[in-house]
Symmetry: C2
């Protein structure tokens, strides 16, 4: 067949489990079972085709231990399909897995997954105001780039994620910069995936609520050059980079990040056009970096921040910290924003850090939310913090 | 505790299943079970912790139906852990899933996954010469960006992946461009993930085997603006974009892709510095686009190419195709490269297209490989094609 009827063949299902374009082309003949199915009222139905399984549970990050043992919701079998409908979920992004005969795995019908440390979770997004900020909308989109930079301080070439706003590449304008830092389990992929940073920026810029800005998401683990699988360390096993936590090296080497951005992007290289924010460990990096470089940042954001993470560490970052805070106050800043959840295990730490700022007579904005140490809160904090920047 | 001992607490396992930095931090106390474990001799051990499962299979893209029914390898249980060791795999990247009591899912111990159409597969990379090209090595790395461009021909803003070589952003040099197209099941994420395009380019440029170049990976489905989950269509269900296949619209609108790149990147905007290559449907796009724009490309690569995918389609791309080929020949080109696997279901189509080129007196380079319509072949073809470009 010279004039091949490949498409026709494929559509008619003749090229069964075969390989076309990609190796995996499923036959379209089977009725499609959907999971998850998000209904208009934010109830969500999960389904699993498992005729031979004996016990199937759903484990979502919205389920609590109090409502179900181990937070595991039993799914119910009917005609080979196990299902469960969660009702009335709030407007947000959610993570979940399914447990099949005792093994926690991904929902095989949902290709959308996010890695968090050394596990992957399926995700879905419900409807409503908050979720609308996390979805890809028909608005101009910025560029998301994975880029490598030299860190002379660390003697490494390292990977970062850079968001440039719509119009950046085509224009001549100079932009302000937000440095956005992840937590202890994260890397340069955390804010772009779990944090939906690019979607939030695209949507809030399009609404005119947020100034167009460059957002720089570096890797906060100084013993790693890049996220798991993206460095020359190879794929396995995934080391959990704890020894580098709280050493002060991230803060000491932060100047390399800023220098790289200011030499390679069209930016407003001045204090009033620089912001830094981070969650948990990244909050610790944020507060120490902004005090270590007290003439660098006019906008500081602490999201569920940790404070000092290693009391033993010898670093100029920690020595004389109170003096550095004084200097930061003298130099002035426009916003010191603190977000904390009522149930966060770092709540007390947060209150004590507020007291420290008050002792120094440093102004700050405090936002206390429901909930704890969660990406749901961190996404929200980002949407609250962004509109206050560079105004 | 003002000077918090959080790190210590965490390491000692006190913050059990808790939430720090990322929401998911596993206790490090448990002994780590590895899966997959790639041994130095390229045998690979897969493990699944599933005390209560009754039947566990491994399904890899290297297993054949002839060696195991349905290509499913039974795993063997010992002390709650199911395992299987595959021996002597070639040097390559492989995909697999596990089947637990009848349900095909991802290996829960392996976070590395690639989406292929509407399924996800775990992947691993063995050792050896070929695999070395697919791994992240300690070499200078290019930038990989997801970027949106306007297509006036289609009346859409669309997403593409752009690889810029190491040094691009810092320098002033102008670069040649390879346009690299995916197959029918793919999108702008296929070559960067399944194809390991960025790793191949980084490694071969570092070895001096390949000229530094920009590689542009657009989305070949003109009814979509972006890959599943990355467009305003939302997450579910994942439509399989067949109606747009073979309409000629991709070829007609290709000028928008080239124009965007040449207006927005430092490129050598001339025929001798433009290459186009594609696999399967992308091979069809390649051959028709290069003939439709006969003064654009000096390098053409067909990887397991389909020919005409919709005989009924009305498009200037298909009308008078032989005349366009004649024009392409008259204009001249430096390389017409064809790669095809002996077992490819498009093998005959490929031979007939070769005959057509011969009837037109058009020179081409033909590479026939073992195997069929597989990413293993397409990655190899890329490594063979790249060194011939822009020399």
């Amino acid at each position: 067949m010279y004039k091949s009827k490949l498409l026709l063949l494929l559509l008619s299902g003749c090229i069964c489990s075969c390989l076309f374009g990609q190796e995996n082309i499923r036959s379209g003949a089977k009725e499609q079972v959907l999971s998850p199915e998000v209904h208009p009222d934010n109830s969500v139905t999960f389904r699993l085709v498992a005729p031979d399984a004996t016990r199937v549970f759903l484990k979502g990050n919205w389920t609590t231990e109090s409502s179900f043992p181990d937070g595991k919701i039993p799914m119910v079998k009917s005609n080979s399909i196990w299902s469960y409908t969660a009702s009335g979920l709030p407007s947000d992004l959610f993570l979940y897995n399914v447990e099949i005969d005792g093994v926690l795995v991904n929902d095989p019908l949902n290709v959308y997954q996010i890695r968090d440390v050394n596990r992957t979770f399926n995700y879905f997004i419900t409807n409503g105001e908050r979720a609308d900020l996390y979805k890809v909308q028909e608005v101009p989109h910025g560029t998301v780039a994975k880029r490598w930079y030299d860190s002379p301080t660390l003697g490494m070439t390292r990977r970062m994620t850079v968001y440039t706003p719509p119009g950046y590449e085509e224009g001549k304008e100079k932009y302000p910069v937000l440095y956005l830092l992840h937590g202890m389990g994260g890397d340069e992929e955390a804010w772009p995936t779990l944090g939906r940073a690019a979607q939030i920026l695209d949507n809030m810029i399009a609404r005119g609520q947020v100034k167009p800005m460059i957002v720089v998401m570096p890797n906060g683990h100084v013993s790693n050059t890049a996220a798991p699988g993206e460095s020359s360390k190879g794929l396995y096993p995934i080391g959990f980079a704890t020894p580098d936590v709280g050493t002060g090296k991230m803060e000491e080497s932060f100047i390399d990040v800023v220098r790289f951005i200011e030499e390679n992007y069209r930016v407003q290289a001045k204090k009033s056009s620089r912001a830094i924010a981070g969650l948990s460990m990244g909050g610790s990096h944020t507060l120490f970096t902004s005090a270590f470089l007290p003439d660098y940042f006019d906008y500081i954001g602490l999201f569920s921040a940790a404070f000092r993470m290693n009391d033993k560490a010898q670093s100029p970052v920690f020595s004389d910290f109170d003096h550095r805070l004084t200097k930061q106050k003298e130099n002035g800043y426009r916003l010191y924003w603190i977000g904390m959840g009522k149930d966060d295990f770092l709540y007390e730490t947060g209150q004590q850090f507020r007291k420290k700022l008050e002792e120094h007579g440093m102004m700050y904005h405090y936002h206390e939310s429901e909930g704890g140490h969660t990406w749901s809160n961190w996404r929200t904090y980002l949407t609250l913090f962004l509109p206050k920047l560079f105004q």
